[in-house]
């Protein structure tokens, strides 16, 4: 193979400093082996699938996630700790931690007073960073017990930024050990609390 002639490539009408600049690039190119002519479509297809595979949440993995949350609760929070809610009428707030299904997500559940007549708890759910769902898909807020989804609190969808959803639930909170946000009913945990109250 014949090496290209530099003057033939750039012509002879450039100022000396530009010639020097281009000569340096010319030397770098001559010292460099050829890149592959093209990237195989099989590689592009394989890379396009990266990050799109749904993580498989077996019951064992879900139980493990809940167990980790319970340990965190015991170590860092204890049971029944009340959280400052910034002067609102809510009695306490529980942070929701992101799981591997949505590492960018965050959330919080604020719990208000329990209506003495009906027994319902007033809730406010604030979430951010969850992907917007399409095709009729939705998220579910659960109360969980011993690594299992035990009671549905409501369904919701998200927009951009922070989404706020007001709900009421009739459950006795002390009977549960975690709040969970999942996609559809029974899907993998996307957000998980380390305690209920």
């Amino acid at each position: 193979m014949t090496d290209p002639d530099f003057r033939d490539l750039v012509g002879g009408d450039l100022p000396p400093e530009e010639i020097a600049r281009l000569e340096r690039v010319d030397r770098l190119l001559r010292a460099t082996p050829a890149p592959p002519a093209q990237v195989p479509a099989s590689l592009t297809d394989a890379v396009a699938r990266i990050g799109t595979e749904r993580r498989v949440w077996t019951p064992r993995r879900v139980a493990f996630a809940f167990a980790v949350a319970a340990v965190l609760a015991a170590v860092f929070f204890g049971v029944g700790r009340w959280t400052d809610t910034g002067g609102s009428h809510y009695r306490f707030a529980v942070p929701l931690e992101a799981t591997a299904s949505a590492p960018q997500a965050s959330g919080e559940i604020k719990v208000g007073d329990r209506d003495p007549k009906s027994g319902n708890w007033e809730l406010q759910l604030n979430v951010a960073g969850l992907p917007k769902l399409s095709g009729g898909d939705y998220y579910v807020l659960w109360l969980a017990k011993n690594g299992k989804y035990a009671g549905t609190c409501g369904t919701f969808n998200v927009g951009s930024g922070t989404t706020t959803v007001d709900m009421t639930v009739s459950y006795r909170l002390k009977n549960y050990d975690a709040w969970v946000v999942s996609r559809h009913e029974g899907g993998a945990p996307w957000l998980l609390s380390a305690r209920v109250s």
Partner: protein
């Protein structure tokens, strides 16, 4: 006259976006680095199939670990180079070969340090080529690695000779800007 380098998003910025789960940034990063990664893998593994596997693992690792990238510790290109090199060495080790320092084609007699330097230089040049407009990249690759003359390139691409010369000169000038900090 020097040609201004297009103000594309930096590699580091793209990696930071990937770290936040931005799929579009990941696709841009793939377009920019697929050939440099594959070229390095082919040179070091000497086998197209295994090189493709290593390239795929590189981008999977980028997706998984982009959040660990810290701009203050170095450029995005250097971070991605390290990720790719790690994936390639891992792939080679799986086959129980002496892969960690397989000589580069261009410097078979070089010391390990020289080989590492050559690998980094090749990476930078290939990465810079990917940032050129397609029409400029093609004429430069044909000129330097196909052995075609300017007239033959014009005939091959079916464009006037003057167009080939303009694109070549413009592309070289753009590369000069992209490779300003590269040591020879």
């Amino acid at each position: 006259m020097p040609v201004a380098v297009a103000t594309a998003e930096t590699d580091g910025r793209l990696i930071e976006r990937v770290g936040r789960g931005d799929r579009d940034a990941f696709d841009q990063l793939y377009k920019r680095f697929a050939r440099p990664v594959l070229a390095m893998a082919v040179r070091q593994l000497g086998d197209n199939g295994r090189a493709e596997d290593a390239a795929q693992e590189t981008f999977a690792a980028v997706w998984r670990s982009a959040r660990s990238y810290k701009a203050e510790r170095g450029s995005g290109s250097a971070w991605l180079y390290a990720v790719a090199r790690h994936a390639i060495i891992d792939r080679a080790r799986q086959r129980r070969e002496q892969a960690a320092e397989i000589p580069e084609e261009a410097s078979a007699d070089a010391t390990p340090a020289e080989r590492a330097e050559q690998s980094w230089l090749t990476w930078r040049v290939h990465s810079a080529l990917e940032q050129l407009p397609e029409r400029e990249r093609v004429v430069i690759e044909l000129a330097y690695w196909s052995g075609l003359s300017q007239t033959e390139i014009a005939s091959y691409l079916d464009v006037p000779l003057g167009t080939v010369k303009t694109r070549t000169r413009t592309g070289l000038a753009r590369l000069a800007g992209l490779l300003e900090e590269v040591r020879e």
